[in-house]
Symmetry: C2
Subunit: 419 residues, 2 copies
């Protein structure tokens, strides 16, 4: 039996989980402030939910198998098809625009590498029922708020925005047929480091016009310009950049698309999204416009680590109860009562010697030690602030049902310890 998880999967020990929770907290807070409501779907779905609607790349990487009921099932590689399924089934219950978010766990079978795991978490925000560019602006504003809550700024990351609709018109204008477009998008998606020769080879007669289009710095389409204005009005002009090279791999995008990248270009995309107006109808729902984004935890965590912004909300006990053997029952009463009153309280269940209990209090990072020694029989405890070694006396009273409360009035300690 190996002690390791499967390749591409991660164990989150408490230290690592703390960082993950910090990321989730920022995602939830940005969603909440922006008026998105949380939802969640199943992690296992019918395989056919993905095979027709997603891109080839994703479908080739799906974990799928035949279950004991002979169904072809898949561990979800993305949440958008589930969202489309759920909205199609119940959208009449909801006032438009529907603004929903989720933090799903997703699965892809691909070669594990830096920032790419076989299992990861992803923040998803989607707006359904809003056709105007306000949807994209709202989504970009929300993801930027999330990044800024983690301490990132516009000098760290940039939202690169493009328009698949503009590309559609451009390619049609240059005689590219509908069934060839996906291939061109795939080439454009990988163009970053290509040489001039490779450009000519891959794009042929399109190389010149494409190069010219990419060189222009204006917004190219009215949709893109409206998104730019909306994002600027929300206060995020510095985070925004038009970059037509962004085309996104997924088959279902129809309009404005965007990616978040670190400014230095050291990492993969931190987030990506766009408009997918045709998807809901494909799922048998009404013809509802929609847009959304996904932001994974893995690349983001790497970027935060590089910027020394890993959230370190260390959960240490506020109070650690230390007791002589004779005071053990009192100690447990204190532990139970203080926890019920909302405090974070720990103690040594092995009930070691006095010094060992104090040592465990320090090892656990407790702020206060609450000491039940000989004078506990007279209703007195000692409170010690472990970092400063300052200490003072404190009283306690037994209430009904064995509940213990610390007594105010014996100096400032009860107030301090409750702070």
């Amino acid at each position: 039996m190996t002690g390791q998880p499967l390749p591409g999967f991660r164990d989150f020990y408490p230290e690592e989980h703390r960082a993950l929770r910090g990321i989730f907290a920022a995602w939830r807070e940005a969603s909440r402030r922006s008026g998105f409501a949380e939802y969640e779907g199943p992690e296992l779905e019918s395989l056919d939910l993905y095979t027709e609607k997603s891109g080839d790349e994703i479908v080739g990487q799906i974990y799928h198998f035949r279950d004991k009921g002979d169904r072809e099932v898949a561990l979800r590689p993305e949440l958008t098809p589930t969202l489309a399924r759920m909205v199609a089934a119940r959208h009449r219950h909801y006032r438009k625009p529907i603004k929903w978010f989720s933090i799903p766990r997703l699965f892809r079978y691909e070669r594990p590498q830096r920032g790419r795991q076989r299992e990861h978490f992803q923040w998803n925000c989607d707006m359904v029922g809003e056709k105007s560019a306000a949807a994209e602006a709202e989504l970009i504003g929300t993801l930027v708020l999330g990044l800024s809550l983690l301490g990132l700024g516009p000098s760290d990351v940039v939202v690169k925005v493009s328009d698949r609709g503009w590309w559609d018109r451009f390619l049609e204008g240059h005689g590219v047929k509908e069934n060839q477009k996906a291939e061109v998008f795939k080439v454009l998606d990988k163009l970053e480091d290509a040489t001039e020769d490779e450009w000519n080879k891959k794009l042929g007669s399109l190389a010149g016009p494409v190069r010219q289009a990419l060189g222009a710095k204006d917004a190219h389409s009215s949709g893109l310009e409206e998104v730019r204005q909306g994002v600027a009005a929300l206060g995020y002009a510095e985070w925004f950049e038009v970059d037509l090279r962004v085309v996104r791999g997924l088959a279902y995008y129809t309009g404005v698309v965007f990616e978040v990248h670190d400014r230095a270009g050291k990492f993969r995309a931190v987030a990506g999204g766009g408009r997918y107006d045709a998807l809901l109808k494909k799922f048998g729902g009404e013809d509802l416009p929609a847009a959304g984004f996904g932001m994974g935890d893995a690349v983001l965590a790497e970027l935060l680590a590089e910027k020394k912004l890993v959230p370190a909300e260390v959960p240490a006990p506020g109070i650690f109860v230390v007791a002589e053997l004779a005071q053990r029952p009192l100690a447990l009463q204190l532990v139970g009562s203080l926890r019920r009153a909302g405090q974070v309280v720990d103690y040594d269940p092995g009930h070691g010697k006095w010094a060992k209990q104090l040592e465990l209090a320090e090892a656990k990072g407790a702020r206060w030690a609450l000491l039940a020694g000989r004078e506990a029989a007279q209703g007195k405890l000692t409170v010690k602030e472990l970092a400063t070694r300052k200490q003072g006396e404190i009283g306690y009273e037994a209430g009904p049902g064995g509940a213990i409360s610390l007594v105010p009035g014996v100096g400032e300690w009860p107030k301090v310890i409750a702070s």
Copy 2:
């Protein structure tokens, strides 16, 4: 394409997700107050992690398949084997006792029924490295705290506690061989509604002694008595009951075991756990004592619904910005600025007419409407409390970079709206 999830799987629309988040919040808060640190493992593990260490019942219900790398993998049916694997790999880094909790998603292929889904969430708390009964008391105290944070009391639920160690000794004393014990435990586990004839048929000569043992109301073993005292000292005597019929199905339990049931006996067990001292060693780790429990979300949610205790933390926007068309840029600046200041703010992205925007504000359950009408050009906004229709005037100022702040000093409204 069906709009439904696979059989046994659940969609959590925002209303349902709210209830789930309420349960998670109580689980996390009880864990935190009790000094447990959060961790998480992968959802896909090697199948052999379960085949040897868990009970037959679980193994028969595992979702398992061969992945593209030809590995036999399983969607985790429980978290304890992952915990054992993780602790075995790194336990030297951690001061004992290790107190960890998690809220994993788990999978079982079984016939879906009330309170039993193929996918569910489960609160897991475990203590590793503590051999005394203080571990079980601490675990029971923590789960009771979690239930009480959800509004449940000792008249709603009871923790039934038993001792597999006592049963081991009892069965050995009556000549039951080691390899027959599992079968007897299985019979005991299903004895609840059996008639006298069925008792005699299933237990044979053991029927009399077992009946006598079950009838006795004292604690039977010193371990059980210590747990009882610890739970009572923590303040939860009323929640505690010795019931030797509780034996738990899992193969790895070695000592005290417990289950949480609703008092009326209408539902399946809400939670279950116990001591599993031999498991860590089986995973190649040191010989560390351990105990833990799991509490699923499905039965708990049913019980909470019956007791009308479904947590309803409805996330509605605090402020809804309503604007005339000419004030649209100002409205977006307000939205962005107020969100950055921590407020929950929404608006109508479709920018409907004034009355339609107000109607959407009410439909979304917003507390305040912030109105940017004709007087906005003079630095004035109107604030309206939607429930009471009370309204007042408020000023605003543009700061650097387009940030807008509400101006205190124009009456009490800025203070009220920020509350």
